[in-house]
């Protein structure tokens, strides 16, 4: 079992699992329960400026995309930032930090884009003894209509400006939470760094319309026959989050920036993937909102055992290990060749591999042999696309075999393992640099 204690931009926590700024961290009651369950830290649900509290809808604020057995695959919400008075939140934050000194307690903030508003709230947060602040430049619904949240995160100049104010008026570490609702995530990340951010966290939720009620002709969640777009999260967004996290991790202009990864982290495996792609810790919300806080047990145990199995003694040693594997398409080895292969002992003869290949791909899996159901790869046609492996319901029945020093029956070419060729140097590429 490896050590999970982490120090993220100087903020220590017993494990790298923080609860993201969201309903689970809206008040002391929930946060105390989370810490009792074993969570390493929380980002307290976003505080706004002092004044009349935020008003939330009293109709449904969540909706979900369900998978088999009604498992929650995707989730969206139209909830705003905290709707409790600022002073109440600040008092609870101070008390919780006092009660749980070993846990990370970061406070999420979202106030209007004026220097005075940020200056004022930062001072009051600093008084609570919190470990840091996270700037909510991400929420895509509701608050963005009022010029906050994603409305700031989508303009790199604003990101830089507000980040700079926060560094100027507070000694607390500053994490900038980014919105994925942009074309190139590196732009706001670079802006945050320019403004002096200590770290970035991503992704916030994705603008989404969850579904449409087919009987009432109204989008969902429906508030008195009307609906609005919400923020999408949960397991379904993980691939998007992985891409954005790795884009920042790979960006020379962002080199070394600490990343707190968010987006569909449901278990230790998801967390490990984000860490390998450059995250220093992870934040979780949807998984807790669908199963409760107890999921932390599996996360902690699983990640610790995984690190030990990989002979990594700490989370820090794992951070970014998979980043070098990511490159641009043009740098992939076009000489690398695989063929699908079917383990006939495991094959249950459902024929899914055959029909998807036959109908939608390369006609590379035959369906019959001597008049009987029998599925076999036709290597002369197989391009190694992985579609059959993807649809095969039996684990390890269909796999890909790498050709090494043998002839590719499809192209007739001898595949030599030591010969690698990238598009940049490929003879078919008119732009190829001869010596690339």
């Amino acid at each position: 079992m490896s050590e999970l204690k982490t120090s993220f931009i100087g903020i220590e926590s017993p494990n790298p699992f923080w609860l993201a700024s969201a309903p689970p961290t809206d008040k002391a009651y929930n946060v105390n329960r989370a810490f009792e369950a074993g969570w390493g830290g929380v980002v307290w649900k976003t505080l706004g400026e002092d004044g009349p509290p935020i008003v939330n809808v009293s109709g449904p604020r969540y909706a979900a995309m369900h998978g088999k057995d009604r498992s929650v695959i995707g989730f969206n919400n139209i909830e705003l930032i905290t709707d409790r008075p600022l002073q109440t939140n600040l008092e609870e934050i101070a008390q919780v930090k006092k009660d749980w000194p070993d846990r990370a307690l970061v406070v999420s903030l979202m106030v209007p884009c004026t220097e005075e508003a940020w200056k004022s709230v930062l001072a009051r947060v600093e008084d609570t003894g919190a470990d840091g602040v996270e700037l909510n430049f991400g929420c895509p619904h509701g608050m963005s209509e009022r010029g906050m949240g994603a409305a700031v995160g989508q303009v790199p100049e604003y990101v830089e400006m507000v980040t700079a104010w926060c560094k100027q008026y507070s000694g607390l570490p500053v994490i900038v939470k980014l919105t994925p609702n942009v074309t190139d995530i590196r732009q706001p990340a670079r802006a945050a760094l320019k403004g002096g951010a200590d770290a970035v966290s991503l992704i916030n939720t994705i603008s989404s319309v969850m579904s449409v009620d087919l009987d009432s002709f109204s989008a969902v969640p429906t508030i008195d026959q009307r609906a609005t777009h919400g923020g999408y999260c949960g397991p379904a967004v993980k691939p998007i989050a992985l891409h954005m996290v790795s884009d920042i991790a790979r960006d020379p202009d962002c080199a070394g920036v600490p990343i707190s990864a968010i987006g569909g982290v449901s278990n230790w495996r998801d967390a490990a993937e984000f860490i390998l792609l450059g995250a220093g810790n992870v934040q979780v919300c949807t998984a807790a909102m669908t199963h409760g806080f107890k999921i932390i047990d599996d996360m902690v145990d699983g990640l610790s055992r995984y690190l030990a199995r990989m002979e990594l003694s700490s989370v820090g040693q794992a951070v970014g290990q998979a980043v070098p594997s990511l490159t641009d398409w043009q740098h992939l080895n076009l000489n690398y060749t695989v063929k699908a292969q079917i383990d006939q002992n495991l094959c249950i003869q459902c024929g899914r591999c055959h029909i998807v290949c036959e109908d939608t791909s390369h006609q590379a899996i035959s369906a019959r042999m001597n008049g009987r159901r029998h599925y076999e790869v036709v290597e002369e046609e197989c391009v190694g696309c992985n579609l059959c492996v993807t649809v095969c319901p039996v684990e390890n029945c269909l796999t890909l075999r790498t050709l090494e020093n043998e002839v590719d029956l499809r192209t007739g070419r001898m595949i030599k393992s030591e010969e690698k060729i990238q598009w940049t140097a490929h003879p078919n590429n008119p732009m190829a640099a001869p010596d690339a």
Partner: protein, 454 residues
């Protein structure tokens, strides 16, 4: 389900009301709880939507099983029922009575990967029940062809044939000896498989398409002849079923208390009060098919104290599947293999037991000594015989009494088709009878359309 205790219920001999009516109703509950909407979708998601699916090949009526299951998964049970009924108008009964563990579910590839097939039967029932509940209309008749077909027997074969012919625009008269429509669906399947008068419900659905007249109380060879049918109609379909039970051919067989299982089930199915059906305290069932299981289980559910099913060969040879054997055992039936009845033991004209010899020798030969099972009621469940039809069918080519038909279910006589239990080579299943009726209807339609057979 928990069975109401069945030990020491009432006197020796044959008696009614061994259990109260309420307890009987409790015991005759659903064999499998029907699926509700979400449960059905979850189960439907287990289907791999196989290419050239083995379950489809295994279904005698060729229902597009993956197709209908996918519709259930996608919240379209009405569409699913449409696919089912298109191939099998008795999809509702088959979902309840088919030995799926030897047909579609046996073929399911999920037996290979997680040892549990998709529960195709329950899914089919879910879809069809939904459709019947919601009165979905699937069939409309083609314009009147002006041709008429006479169908003998309102059982699965006859009704399936009549329905398809009616859809294709022909007028159909179904001649039925008994008071009710449905044949063995109404009179022969176990009561716990066909709860809530399902056979009648399904019959009404089938005939609601129009163009089908059912003439009850008309017995073939008694009230009308083949010549009459040929006179009145342009084509004839015989879905006669079989006439009566086989005999054991052993001494004492005619003693009081020895009864054919089919007759007992018939009485039970028509009883308003289950508890009014007299049943023995100690019951012996002879046979190895589904009827043997059905009668043994029902005797037990009525409160018989001791029910033993005796089969002359082993569990693998038994026509009732291992699942059905287990089903009977769970309900308290004892199954004994490798024993054949030698004589019915009786006293004062009433049965007191059955003497068996053991058959389990290497070549199936008997192995002494014999043994006797005490019994006050004995059921013969050794298949039905075509003998009573011999006279009426004298002019047809037959095989062991049953009608010989071709692939289109045409008999040896032009213009006369046949299907269901009365034809040779069948397997005594509702689903096969439906397929016979369907194939014959297609062939009749083709013949009539070409101007043939008047």
């Amino acid at each position: 389900m928990e069975l109401i205790a069945t030990a020491h219920n009432g006197p020796a001999g044959i008696a009614a009301a061994r259990l109260g009516e309420e307890d009987c109703r409790h015991n005759f509950c659903e064999m499998h709880s029907p699926l509700e909407a979400n449960g059905a979708r979850v189960e439907a998601e287990r289907c791999y939507f196989c290419f050239d699916a083995p379950c489809l090949e295994a279904c005698p009526t060729g229902i597009d099983v993956p197709g209908f299951i996918r519709m259930i998964a996608n919240h379209n049970p009405a569409g699913a029922a449409g696919l089912i009924l298109q191939e099998n108008i008795m999809g509702g009964t088959c979902a309840r009575a088919c030995p799926v563990e030897t047909l579609c579910e046996h073929a399911c590839v999920r037996n290979q990967d997680d040892d549990r097939p998709v529960t195709i039967g329950l899914l089919q029932r879910y879809a069809v029940d939904q459709a019947l509940d919601q009165d979905v209309n699937y069939f409309s008749r083609a314009s009147d062809s002006g041709r008429s077909v006479g169908v003998v027997g309102a059982g699965p074969a006859g009704l399936a044939c009549a329905h398809r012919l009616a859809v294709m625009g022909h007028s159909v008269v179904v001649y039925e000896a008994r008071e009710k429509t449905g044949g063995l669906n109404e009179y022969g399947l176990a009561a716990y498989k066909m709860l809530n008068d399902f056979a009648q419900r399904e019959s009404r659905f089938i005939t609601s398409v129009g163009g089908i007249e059912i003439a009850h109380g008309k017995t073939f060879g008694h009230d009308f002849s083949l010549a009459d049918l040929r006179d009145r109609h342009d084509g004839v379909f015989l879905g006669l079923g079989l006439g009566g039970g086989n005999t054991l051919g052993i001494p004492g067989e005619t003693s009081a208390g020895v009864e054919d299982a089919v007759d007992f089930i018939d009485r039970l199915r028509q009883a308003t009060r289950l508890s009014s059906i007299p049943v023995g305290k100690r019951v012996v069932v002879i046979g190895g098919g589904m009827t043997a299981i059905d009668v043994a289980v029902q005797a037990k559910l009525l409160g018989a104290e001791d029910v033993t099913l005796v089969y002359r060969r082993g569990p693998e040879q038994m026509k009732a599947s291992a699942k059905e054997q287990d089903f009977a055992r769970i309900r308290g039936v004892t199954i004994r293999f490798w024993a054949q009845p030698e004589s019915v033991v009786h006293q004062d004209g009433s049965v007191t037991g059955v003497e068996f010899h053991v058959t389990g020798g290497p070549d199936g030969q008997r192995r002494p000594p014999n043994f006797v099972l005490d019994a006050d009621m004995v059921f013969k469940a050794i298949g039905q015989a075509p003998q009573p039809l011999a006279e009426a069918l004298a002019g047809f080519k037959r095989e062991r009494g049953r009608l010989v038909v071709d692939a289109n279910r045409l008999t040896s006589q032009a213009g006369v088709w046949a299907g269901g239990d009365c034809i040779a080579g069948g397997d005594d299943l509702t689903v096969s009878a439906v397929q016979d009726g369907k194939l014959a209807a297609n062939a009749i339609h083709e013949t009539l359309s070409a101007g043939g057979t008047d």
